[in-house]
Amino acid sequence: MATRRRVAGPVLRRVVAVVVGLTFLGPFWWVLVTSLARTGDVYKFPPSLLPHWHWANYARAWAAAPWVRLFGNTVLIALCTVVLAVVTSVLAGYAFGVLRFRGRTALFTVVLAVMMVPQTVLLIPDYVIAQTIDWLDTYWIQIIPFGGSVFGIFLVRQFFAGLPPELFDAAELDGAGRLRTLWSIGVPLVRPAVIIVALNVFMGSWNAFVWPFIMTSSTSVQPVEVGLATFYGAEGTDWTGLSAAVTFTTLPVLALFLALQRHFVTGAYSAAGGLK
């Protein structure tokens, strides 16, 4: 009986695991099938679970909104935010991780305190501020506020704190400036942290909705997700067209995830901090 259990155990475990996996993937298949169905197909029972390769839905959905512009905006906003957040995180992470100075603990506490403020709370005052400085409906309001990342500073600081401090002292003796030291020695050594921060900020920016939805009003500066929500609001019953739009707006994120899967998992561990 013991041997039978040893054989049945792993097999059962695998079967259950595959069922769980397929359940999570189900909605992806469902939206793909719907996006390729003829309009009449989606009103049948039982629903067809195989695609009909009806590409006209994609053409219709693509023509319904200025997607090229929306994608361009999203990429521009995401890349600018990543560059800014990585630069500010590396600089501050280096300051907190390597340099010893008066007030270090106090300043770092301020950084941690920033974590306590959720974005929802900031919508009202930041809207008023953006209104005052004429930043409503611009790229700026979608980039600059996200150019500082507590998670990023925290992670880079941890990486720097793990390096021998002499590394930076030695280079300093050679006369290289702090900034040059940081760029030539520091950044390559904390590259894993930089990649995780970049990916984290990029995904946050790409998937953002509430913030751009509140702060912007014209498609010339809006990101894809806001455009998709607008399309949904206007064509809420065109399920085949909506499914096509969902598919082509989500594909870039999925491709990025599949290409950089390992870093996503490391990123999740890093977010958990010290749970490695």
């Binding site: 340099l99 974005q119 009202i124 702090r178 995904m203 909705f209």
Partner: protein, 312 residues
């Protein structure tokens, strides 16, 4: 510009390298380096938080700020007054959603993590499948689930019909709308916590479990008395981050139900959005924001605590 300014003191300090001196030399550099991040935090997070408190004390006129009048704690008194939906009702709705996400999310992700742990590379494909929803944009996948929950033609009711069960109105009924949104949100979030739990399980001692089995413990006893206690810090972490993120959840409510039907899914975050940006009751919405801030801050402090205990 920064380089030349920083070079000078460093050359001067080469001869004597006391801790005290290096501290003095690093000061300006450190301030300069942390300034960009701190400036962004100050302008867009710290000052605005204080500003929210200020706004919450005014009958705020969003179209003409100079016409706002100071009304003291009136907006906070309004929290307990009768309105539709009331603060109390939406606080309960938030509690419903948060409890569902925390309890359901922790249980499901722990179960999946246990299923996938020690499974070798074969099960890593399943892990990817479970994680994928987490990277998808909320707007896009919320739309997919609205279609899944479509009462006439959706996948959910097709499955029920196939099982000879009665159809459900899902998002159109005030009793099933929240369970439907919870199902979507769990599908979206669970992958992240599964990975966290897998990380926790990887460092759980296998020897202790083996010892328990030698002593005659069965699988369940081994989990309950040996594995689970070792996972406590990780669980506490998962519970606090799920609480914080569930309290902020907005997009799925906006796309799937717009807070309805009959306010059944109007959470605090949704009420805040509605009061501030649909009805322009900015002062009242700011009072809601202050409440949300206090609750979130408390849970963040708790999270710092758990993180520290995990590290030590």
């Amino acid at each position: 510009m920064a380089t030349t300014q920083l070079d000078r003191p460093s050359r001067r300090g080469v001869a004597v390298r006391s801790r005290r001196r290096s501290r003095d030399r690093s000061g300006p550099t450190a301030v300069l380096f942390s300034l960009p991040a701190l400036a962004i935090f100050a302008i867009f997070t710290i000052l605005p938080t204080a500003y929210t408190f200020v706004i919450s004390l005014f009958d705020w006129n969003p179209l003409n700020v100079s016409q706002s009048t100071f009304i003291g704690a009136d907006n906070y008194r309004k929290l307990f007054a009768h309105s539709t939906p009331s603060f109390a009702a939406s606080a309960l709705t938030s509690l419903y959603f948060t409890a569902g996400m925390v309890i359901g999310g922790t249980a499901i992700s722990l179960a999946i993590a246990l299923l996938l742990s020690r499974g070798g590379s074969w099960l890593s494909g399943v892990r990817v499948a479970v994680f994928v929803p987490h990277v998808t944009p909320l707007v896009a996948t919320s739309i997919v689930w609205v279609w899944i929950f479509n009462p006439q033609f959706g996948l959910a009711n097709a499955i029920l019909r196939w099982l000879h069960l009665p159809a459900v109105d899902w998002l159109d009924s005030s009793s099933t709308a929240m369970p439907a949104i919870l199902t979507y949100s769990l599908w979206h979030e669970v992958g992240f916590t599964v990975v966290i739990f897998l990380g926790g399980l990887a460092v759980v001692s296998g020897e202790l479990g083996e010892a328990a089995r030698v002593d005659g413990a069965n699988r369940w006893q081994e989990f309950w008395y040996v594995t689970w206690p070792q996972l406590r810090p990780v669980t506490l972490f998962v519970v606090t981050i799920s609480t914080i993120s569930s309290l902020q959840a907005f997009t799925q409510f906006f796309v799937m139900t717009e807070g309805g039907p009959a306010h059944a899914t109007t959470t605090l975050s949704y009420l805040l959005y509605q009061e501030a940006f649909v009805f322009f009751h900015t002062g009242y919405a700011a009072a809601l924001a202050v409440v949300l801030f206090v609750v979130t801050a408390l849970f963040t402090l708790l999270q710092f605590r758990t993180r520290r205990s995990t590290l030590s």
